[in-house]
Symmetry: C2
Subunit: 257 residues, 2 copies
Amino acid sequence: MSEKKLCNISRRNLIAGAGKLAIGSAIAASALSVGFDVKDADASKKSLKWGWGYKKLDPKEVGEIAYKLWYKGYCCYAVVGSMVLPLRRKVGGPYKSLPIDAFRFGHGGVIGWGTICGTLLGAGIATSFIAGKTGEMMLNDIMAWYTETKLPEYKPRHPKYKGPMPITVSDSPLCHISVGKWMKKANKSFKSPARRDRCARLAADVAIYTVKILNQWVDDGYEYYMENEPQVAKYGITAQNNCMECHAKGIPGVPGK
Amino acid sequence: MSEKKLCNISRRNLIAGAGKLAIGSAIAASALSVGFDVKDADASKKSLKWGWGYKKLDPKEVGEIAYKLWYKGYCCYAVVGSMVLPLRRKVGGPYKSLPIDAFRFGHGGVIGWGTICGTLLGAGIATSFIAGKTGEMMLNDIMAWYTETKLPEYKPRHPKYKGPMPITVSDSPLCHISVGKWMKKANKSFKSPARRDRCARLAADVAIYTVKILNQWVDDGYEYYMENEPQVAKYGITAQNNCMECHAKGIPGVPGK
């Protein structure tokens, strides 16, 4: 029997159940309501500082932490943890109450759907919590670097996989394309020890590059958008740079562009 | 002068600077090091419970919050905030110290790169903080529903854009594909008020669907992986379901599959 068959609550029932909710009594509705006003989002800002700060970390140490954490909770968890865990000691404060487990879901391009590489999602989460709005600009450069660079570069002190490690350029921030190109070159399956170690090393590479940027931010400031202009400005739509890889028959017209 | 030209710190300098770090003295290295042992990641678990709990929310109210929050911080921020802000009142505790601003970077498929739709990233973050590991299973169903459904469905009480609102099926969790198909059908630019309102309504739709699942979780439990098996099990690689949309000339062989 398939997993689907084992289920005794179907999505149809879920929707039907939700429909009952929607037509429920005013009493039930008021029981659920918190009388929330969206203006409260502003009020919350006053007590919740965004951008928790940073003290310089050793890129080598962070890389090694990311590599090891990958084997505990995969890519996104590894990159977030490689910075948040040392910062709990070095900065303390709110970092002490951010559970890195909450970012496990980023694995495999978000629970295996092959969207954004979990290492990049982890870098986005870490830079945002650390540097606030400036984190977005850092992430833009991290993503551009990731797509253009032969990876993985990282050599673990004690590699779990000791065979040859091919390197590839993803030309894309997507997990599916990044790992797919590597799997093709390496002729290894997704579940192979070689592929697993490739992604663990990639987590180290992204964590190291991110920490180099953060350290530069401390030393010299960080001139954001310095290397890469926003994608929407370039393309008139949210986009990657590898257009023709998917649009083999030409890019559909972009209205207004 | 372009933004690029304005920059006086190039990526080349960044890498060179990082190189200096790598060959820096032992004294400098020890100043950066926190002497972190990866085993500490386990220790942190004891003090940091993952899965902060939930009390039922009114889907209609959550949808309206998401719609309004979109105009403050875009898609990912809107969906996270639509649940976290009411839960600060209903559950309190750790929700009170989670800054929703930290998830603004998810806009436009992560800072405009068109990867995962920010509404889905927001649902992933919210379900993970709320339900822990079970959140992954919920997100798997939310993502499948998103790709198969004509959206947006949501009708705001006071729409910012009052013109006709086309609906489209994305067949993909990617921002670029989802918004691109809508832009083509609507013949609207990315920066048009219609496109903006489409994404604000989509944030409401995803928030509402997520809350319906969370409410069902409270009422009846939630049989996860009930509707959709993991992507890697289906394809032998992290993947979406719309293979031929990109692989117009056929899917490259998947090693080991």
